[in-house]
Symmetry: C2
DNA sequence: CGTCACTTTGAAAGCTTTCAATAGGAGTGG
DNA sequence: CCACTCCTATTGAAAGCTTTCAAAGTGACG
C-alpha cells in the first residue's frame, strides 16, 4: 500500500493457509540454505537469554514460547504451528524460551541470512514487519484476556483462537498439556479442567479425550471470547519469536 | 552488528535518556515536516480501528494505550512518556486506542513520511525495529505479570518499571488515576489502593499524596517484581503504537 | 462553604486456588 | 494377556485472595 515498506504492509502474506495439516503452504520466508532439525516433545529450541543466531520455520509439530519467574512460575506466551517462524528478534538474545510441545520438525537458517535477505528485499521486510505486528496484536489481545476475563471466558478465548488458526475448524486437537494451557491462560490445571468440564456440561463442547475438543456451539464460545478481533478479519497467520 | 539491519539492531538508540523531563533528548526519529498538537487530559490521540495515518512523538505529558471488551471492561496496555512514539503500526488500522492521561504535546508526521524515511535509511529501519521488539518484550513481561503475579507483586512491578523508565528515580509522580493503574494491572481500584496502603504500612513506599510515590526500599520492591528483566540491562526506552 | 470526583477503608461474597484423592491411559513386565 | 506403575486429567472440599458493594475521607473548584 503506502511506501511505509515493512512498516505498513499487512495483508501481504500469501493464501490464508490453515495449518494443522503439515506441509500445507509454501514457506512465508524463503529460507535458503536451510537445514533441518528434528526434536522430541519437550526438547528446547532455544532458551531465553540465548544468543539469537538462527531463525526456524516449523515444518511439523507444535512449539510453545514461555517465560519464567525466578521461583519457577511460568507464562506460556503462545503456541506456534507449522508455517510459523521461531527465533526472530531484534536484539542479540532471545527474550523467551521455545520448547517442543509435540515432536517437531524445524527448517532453519542463520538469522544473518534472513537479515541479508531483508536488507535486500523490501517485500521481505514488508512480510517480516507484518509478522511482528501481528505478534504485537496477538500479545495485546492476550493481555486483555489475562487482565479482564473470567476462567470461562479465557478458556473460550483459547479454543476460539485455536479454531480460527485452523480455518475455523470445530474439531480441535489439543496437543499441549493442561499445564501448558493453564500457564497460557494464567489459571491452574484444575481450573482449566473444571472449566472444560463445565463447557461440556453446558453443551458448548464435547471432549472425547483430553486432547480432543469439539466445538458444538462455536457462536456461543465466540460470544464468551469477545476479546478477540471481530471474526471478519482476514485469517491471521501466527508466527513466532 | 550483523547484517540483519532492522531485524537485529537493538542497542542502537542514543543515550539512555530518562524521560520525565520534557524535552530531554533528541527525537528518536527525525520527524521532518512535523506538526504539533496539544491535547487535554482524556483527549483521544487515535482510536482502535482508526485508519493509521500519522505517527506521533510525545513531547510532553503521558499517554495511555488501551483496549476494550464489548461490555466495557478495559485493559491499559501501557503508558507512554515524552520521547516515545505513538501510532506506529504495520496494518492500515490502529489495534488500540491512545488517550492523553495528562495534558499532552505531540509532534507528528504522516506515517507515509516515516515509511519513506525507513525505506531510504537502513539506520532508521534498525531503530524502528528495535523499538518494535522492545514493545514485544515489554508486552510479554506484562503477560507474565498479569498471568502469574499477586496484587502486591503486580503493583511492585508497576512501580519498579516506572522507576526504571525514569532513570531509577525513587520519587515517582503517578499522573494516572487508580482506575488506569488497575486496568493496567488487571485489578480493581480498591485492590490497587489497598495494596499501596499495605506497601506504605510495610515501609516499602511513602505516599505523600495519591499521585506521588516514594520508593523507600527499591530493593525489596525489585524482589517482589522479579518478573522484569535483570536490572543490569540497558535502560530501555519505552515507545508506543 | 457546598459540590463533585477520586481515593481510601470496611465487610461480605465470589471465584480461583490449594490440598487431596480418584479416574484414565500408556507402557512395562510377569 | 493381565497386573502393575507412572503420569496426566478430573473431581471434591476447604482456604484464600480479590472483587463487589458501601460508606467515609480528601482535595479541587466555583
Amino acid at each position: 500500500m503506502s511506501a511505509l515498506g515493512y512498516l505498513t504492509s499487512i495483508g501481504s502474506s500469501g493464501a490464508p493457509v490453515a495449518h494443522g495439516g503439515e506441509g500445507a503452504g509454501m514457506s512465508v520466508l524463503p529460507l535458503e540454505g536451510a537445514s533441518c532439525r528434528r526434536l522430541d516433545a519437550d526438547d528446547v529450541v532455544f532458551l531465553e537469554g540465548d544468543e539469537a543466531e538462527r531463525v526456524h520455520e516449523i515444518v511439523q509439530g507444535v512449539v510453545r514460547l514461555c517465560r519464567l519467574l525466578p521461583d519457577g512460575r511460568r507464562a506460556v506466551l503462545g503456541f506456534r504451528h507449522p508455517g510459523d517462524l521461531l527465533g526472530l528478534c531484534s536484539g542479540g538474545r532471545h527474550d523467551c524460551t521455545a520448547e517442543a510441545v509435540t515432536p517437531v520438525v524445524l527448517r532453519s537458517c542463520r538469522l544473518s541470512s534472513l537479515a541479508a535477505l531483508a536488507e535486500a528485499s523490501a517485500e521481505t521486510r514488508r512480510r517480516l514487519s507484518s509478522l511482528v505486528w501481528r505478534e504485537i496484536d496477538a500479545t495485546r489481545t492476550n493481555l486483555l484476556v489475562l487482565g479482564r476475563m473470567s476462567a470461562l471466558e479465557r478458556v473460550a478465548s483459547f479454543l476460539v483462537a485455536l479454531s480460527r488458526q485452523h480455518g475455523h475448524a470445530t474439531r480441535l486437537h489439543l496437543p499441549m498439556s493442561r499445564t501448558d494451557i493453564a500457564d497460557h491462560l494464567g489459571l491452574t490445571i484444575e481450573t482449566v479442567s473444571r472449566t472444560l468440564t463445565q463447557m461440556r456440561r453446558r453443551g458448548l463442547i464435547a471432549l472425547p479425550s483430553p486432547h480432543l475438543a469439539i466445538l458444538l456451539c462455536p457462536d456461543a464460545l465466540r460470544d464468551l471470547a469477545a476479546a478477540d478481533e471481530p471474526d471478519d478479519a482476514a485469517p491471521r497467520r501466527a508466527w513466532a519469536a
